[in-house]
């Protein structure tokens, strides 16, 4: 039931993208997103899409796996699309009752849709190819300069990795409790909005209790291992850049430069 949510999940396989240093992938995702918002012509988007397509091929993650994750943001996408389509002022093209579709509106809506789709697929590609542990290691390492500003970088990264780690656990827990209540005749699928909200109580109460129980256990286990934050803490597997990582940085910069030149300078 809940297994369909692929957003933010890791896909286990072996590929160049999986082996890349997580710092490279984080930087790449950030640059890719920035590039999406700097570009404002067709060729720029074609190039961004092509770059993403190559990355997807290199990742060995089946494409339909990513599309499955898109389903969760379909609503948001439609929302943005409709609003931009009808509410952008400009030269009218079609008139539907009181609503006007403008030329600028069509352009804007198309742009937003393409941006959103590329953005979501791009960032889910990162989470699909990077384990949560690597992800937070990478984040911690990239945010290190902020330590000078007294930002508790290690603690933030630790909280993030715990939160990420708990997603599948709580999802499994939800599945289990749901099944247990269905076995007791609970019905989560029929009825009106109020009935459905009421039907969630037998699911939510045990889920909250489970979350607290697990948090408590984890805190005790960390305490028992003398965890005391990031001060003087070393890593078992420190991140080390390999040759392929430098090459990936080079490719990335090349892409970024090219997409900006093409995406901002060419007409259309």
């Amino acid at each position: 039931m809940l297994r369909d949510i692929t957003l933010g999940q890791y896909y286990q396989t072996d590929s160049l993208l999986h082996r890349l240093d997580s710092r490279v992938k984080l930087t790449a995702t950030l640059l890719f997103i920035i590039s999406l918002f700097l570009v404002n012509n067709l060729w720029g988007y074609v190039m961004a899409a092509a770059f993403l397509a190559v990355c997807i091929r290199l990742s060995h993650v089946p494409f339909r796996y990513m599309v499955k994750g898109m389903r969760t943001i379909l609503f948001l996408l439609l929302f943005a699309l409709v609003f931009n389509l009808f509410l952008t002022p400009g030269t009218p093209v079609v008139r539907l009752w009181k609503l006007t579709v403008t030329k600028e509106g069509i352009r804007m809506a198309a742009q937003i849709a393409v941006r959103l789709v590329l953005l979501i697929i791009g960032s889910s590609l990162m989470t699909l190819t990077t384990t949560p542990n690597h992800l937070t290691d990478g984040l911690e390492s990239l945010m290190k300069p902020l330590k000078k500003l007294r930002v508790p970088v290690h603690e933030v990264a630790m909280m993030m990795s715990i939160a990420l780690r708990f997603i599948p656990i709580l999802m499994e827990e939800t599945d289990k409790i749901m099944k247990a209540q269905i076995a007791r005749g609970a019905d989560f699928e029929s009825g009106n909005l109020i009935q459905r909200a009421k039907a969630m109580v037998p699911l939510l109460v045990p889920l909250f209790i489970a979350a607290f129980r697990r948090a408590n256990d984890l805190a005790l286990a960390m305490e028992a291992r003398c965890y005391r934050g990031g001060e003087g803490r070393t890593k078992m597997k420190p991140l080390v850049y390999q040759r392929r990582d430098y090459m990936a940085y080079a490719v990335l910069l090349l892409y970024f430069a090219a997409v900006i030149v093409i995406g901002r300078i060419l007409p259309i």
């Binding site: 286990q12 037998p202 045990p206």
Partner: protein, 300 residues
């Protein structure tokens, strides 16, 4: 009233790179009023199988019938099936949610749409069957002890008055005393109500004393299916799949290997005592003392 599984196969993650065949061509029939032990090592497919029994997961291949009707055909009354096949999950106390024990037990029968008096009657009966005293009815389920919580949760399923009660590892995480209590109570309620009980466990020791039929699973297959004494004859095969025969059976097998003419089919302590005495030709002169010693040893 019988539940029948015909060539049931279930594959986890069929569309991923690592599909797992959790169940492979399972054929099983659960008739009325039988006490069945379903045994297998961790990961043998027990829990997956159990979730097929009341239609929580749909088999990838094969069919499941309840009174001859396929439970996955269109329009099959799933709710009725779920009240007829009561499933108690592992750590059932994690599903408790109501403000007091009694209302929590009422949740199941309430979902069946029964009238109020009937619901309360059933809840009362279920709580009596699992031995929760009336003084605790009004308490928060979260204030009970571990064993009490579990029994209250089992009562929550029992209150639906199932024809088949399936318990997935009901003794997991309990101390020996709590374990014996729960198992004793399950055996008692089986006797009292005459329903079928399927007891899932990874420990032969747990089930040997209670069940009349043992189904052994390994890697998604049914390895053995028969009376305990028949199954325990396959001591070596059982050990190969990570299961141990009960201690008494083990001792008898060793005695037999050492040249004593004991009957290795005995599965309980009294049976073992009798056959050992017979093999010794009645030379044992302290049966009363011997019995005590045996009993003690079994508990260790």
């Amino acid at each position: 009233m019988a539940l029948k599984l015909e060539h049931v196969t279930y594959i986890y993650g069929a569309d991923t790179q690592l599909p797992v065949r959790a169940l492979d061509d399972i054929c099983l029939e659960i008739p009325d009023g039988q006490f069945i032990g379903l045994i297998g090592h961790t990961g043998s497919g027990k829990s997956t199988l159990v979730q097929h029994l009341n239609g929580l997961i749909r088999p990838s291949q094969g069919r499941i019938t309840w009174n001859g009707r396929d439970i996955w055909e269109a329009g099959f009354p799933k709710k009725e099936l779920r009240s007829s096949v009561g499933l108690v999950f592992q750590y059932p106390e994690h599903q408790l949610f109501e403000a007091d024990v009694f209302s929590d037990v009422c949740f199941g029968p309430n979902n069946l749409g029964l009238p109020r008096e009937e619901v309360q009657k059933r809840a009362r009966r279920a709580l009596e069957l699992v031995g929760i005293p009336e003084a605790l009815y009004g308490q928060s389920p979260f204030e009970l002890s571990g064993g009490q919580k579990r029994r209250a949760a089992i009562a929550g399923v029992l209150a639906m008055e199932p024809k088949i009660l399936v318990l997935d590892e009901p003794t997991a995480g309990l101390d020996p005393k709590g374990r014996d209590e729960i198992l004793g109570q399950i055996a008692g309620l089986k006797k009292e109500t005459g329903i079928s009980v399927v007891l899932v466990s990874h420990s032969m020791e747990d089930v040997a004393n209670y069940v009349e039929r043992i189904v052994v699973m390994s890697q998604g297959h049914i390895l053995f299916d028969g009376e305990p004494r028949q199954v325990f004859r396959h001591k070596r095969e059982l050990e190969e799949v990570g299961l141990a025969v009960p201690q008494v059976t083990d001792i008898l097998h060793r005695l037999s290997a050492a040249g004593f003419a004991v009957d290795t089919d005995a599965t309980t302590v009294p049976e073992a005592r009798d056959t050992i005495l017979k093999a010794l030709g009645g030379k044992w002169d302290g049966p009363a003392a011997g019995r005590g010693a045996m009993g003690e040893k079994e508990k260790c």
